[in-house]
């Protein structure tokens, strides 16, 4: 009994300590951002490995999700004779909800886990220590550019996802199922609101980008410097990011569309 209580207390303490370290880290990372302005090459390199390399999976998934929505939406809407609204349905679902959320989940799995593993292994092989002794602050040199790259990439990837998804819906709805092409686009144009829908979707993707990248670099930097520690940290990045994305999505949706 006492032991259980003790281990519970221990876990709670551990949790709050990690939370504290995570916040200290993000403050340091943010403080390192202005200096990056003078070293664009660092950011470009990371934009490539964090953003560009995630592009393929995001585009392919976006297209399939769009196609599935075209199929499902058509089957539902056709019963009400409203298949002309397919474009609106696909676009709104993507822009408001699926674009940011699914992209963020894919991003956590593809880029987040890679960031954690890379940083964790740099720690385990003492590369971060070596940098410190060379008077190069790893938080500014390694973490800050990776964070910025994730933060920039995520909204762009979400936008790509939504755009390709709309095309996927078009391909199935208009191309295969015979929905009127003019109706698909014009109803979409008329009903999707720039502020209400698109801006809110973009805000979601920005928040998700911030949180996922933060979790990923923190887990890597805080990893126990062994192979087991790095593997656990990588798993945690994916699990925690996914939970954070879904939880935050609920909160943001409640705040925005209410």
């Amino acid at each position: 009994m006492i032991n259980q209580l003790q281990s519970l207390g221990h876990k709670a303490l551990d949790f709050f300590q990690r939370l504290g370290r995570g916040h200290i880290l993000i403050v340091d990372v943010l403080k390192g951002q202005p200096a990056l302005f003078f070293r664009p090459r660092l950011i470009i390199q990371q934009l490539y490995s964090v953003g560009v390399l995630s592009l393929l999976i995001v585009v392919v998934s976006g297209f399939f999700v769009g196609m599935v929505m075209g199929l499902q939406g058509y089957n539902t809407l056709v019963d009400f004779g409203a298949e002309e609204s397919l474009g609106v349905m696909v676009a709104l679902t993507l822009v408001r909800e699926l674009g940011p959320v699914v992209t963020a989940l894919l991003f956590a799995g593809r880029a987040g886990s890679a960031l954690t593993a890379e940083i964790g292994l740099m720690k385990a092989t003492e590369q971060l220590s070596a940098m410190e002794m060379m008077a190069v602050d790893p938080i500014r040199r390694v973490l800050a550019p990776r964070f910025l790259a994730g933060f920039i990439s995520m909204p762009l990837l979400a936008a790509m996802f939504s755009a390709v998804g709309v095309l996927g819906g078009y391909f199935v709805g208009v191309g295969l199922l015979g929905v009127d092409e003019g109706a698909y686009w014009s109803q979409m144009q008329a009903s999707v609101d720039l502020y209400e829908d698109i801006y809110n979707g973009v805000i979601k993707s920005i928040v998700f980008g911030f949180v996922v990248t933060w979790i990923a670099i923190f887990e890597g930097y805080d990893a126990i410097p062994t192979s087991e520690g790095v593997s656990r940290a990588t798993t945690r990045t994916v699990v925690h990011s996914s939970l954070a994305i879904l939880g935050l999505d609920f909160i943001l949706t409640a705040l925005m569309f209410n």
Binding site: M122, T125, E126, Q127, S129, A130, M131, E132, M133, M134, A135, V136, D137, R141
Partner: protein, 266 residues
């Protein structure tokens, strides 16, 4: 002792890890322009001592001053300024695995100076030449042997011509030829550039051939110190045992443990 001659001054250092005292009141002086060798059985905390001097770890108690600055309380900016003047050779090299040998050596130069590519190239090739690896400049760290990696790391540590270099076991994994070259290199760097060197080593022969001064650590304390002759002629049992490599004596070979027979349940 003349204050200005001491570069690193450690006083009453106490440090514990995972509840075990690693250092329990260590006093140590490292003279400017000299090669100080730190010896001691494996696991006494030699690497830890170097990390404490570089402030990668913070002591529980005691003071460590480097070039007149108290590192234990130094702020971030001042600490990084100080570290620019310190080089450290890690026990396993710790090269940046995504950069080639050339770029690894160029790394600190690129980070801290605005030199032209031409000049950087010259500097890097000079440093690589000094460690005999100019021909390996295009290899990646994964393609190097352990001994080669450590020599590249040495080239990187001297890239910015620091005032002091800490070598963590530079001789392990070197064949007799590169060992001889390394010994001479450390000596030459020290004398020609007026560096201060701290060498951690087990290798009694190599270490005593370059040491100006030796500290012998064991059980969290300095058990003997002096010049090579001092130690060789010393009547301290510690010094005698360590310099002659005898298994019996005050220096324990075993990590602290319960009696063997208890462990085996006899």
């Amino acid at each position: 002792m003349d204050e200005n001659k001491t570069l690193v001054k450690v006083r009453d250092l106490k440090f514990a890890r995972a509840g075990r005292m690693i250092f329990d009141g260590v006093d140590l002086d490292i003279q400017r322009g000299k090669i100080t060798v730190i010896m001691g059985p494996s696991g006494t905390g030699k690497t830890t001592l170097l990390r404490l001097i570089g402030r990668q770890l913070k002591p529980m108690q005691g003071s460590i001053s480097v070039d007149g600055e108290e590192v234990t309380t130094l702020g971030h900016r001042r600490l990084y300024e100080l570290r620019k003047r310190m080089g450290m050779l890690f026990q396993n090299g710790a090269l940046l695995t995504d950069l080639s040998v050339f770029e690894n050596v160029a790394y600190p130069i690129r980070e801290h100076t605005n030199l032209s590519d031409e000049l950087i190239r010259t500097l890097v090739l000079m440093k690589l030449q000094a460690v005999g690896l100019r021909g390996a400049r295009d290899l990646m760290p994964a393609e190097l042997s352990g001994g080669m990696a450590r020599r590249v790391a040495l080239a990187r540590a001297i890239a910015l011509d620091p005032m002091m270099i800490m070598y963590d076991e530079p001789f392990t994994g070197q064949d007799p030829i590169s060992m001889g070259v390394l010994v001479r290199l450390i000596r030459n760097l020290n004398d020609a550039l007026g560096l201060t060197s701290v060498v951690v080593s087990h290798d009694i022969e190599e270490a005593s051939s370059i040491a100006d001064y030796i500290y012998l650590l064991s059980g969290g304390k300095v058990v003997a110190h002096g010049t090579t002759e001092d130690l060789a002629n010393s009547d301290s049992e510690w010094a005698q045992q360590f310099m002659k490599g005898k298994p019996d004596g005050p220096v324990p070979f075993h990590f602290q443990s319960q009696p063997y027979t208890d462990d085996l349940n006899i």
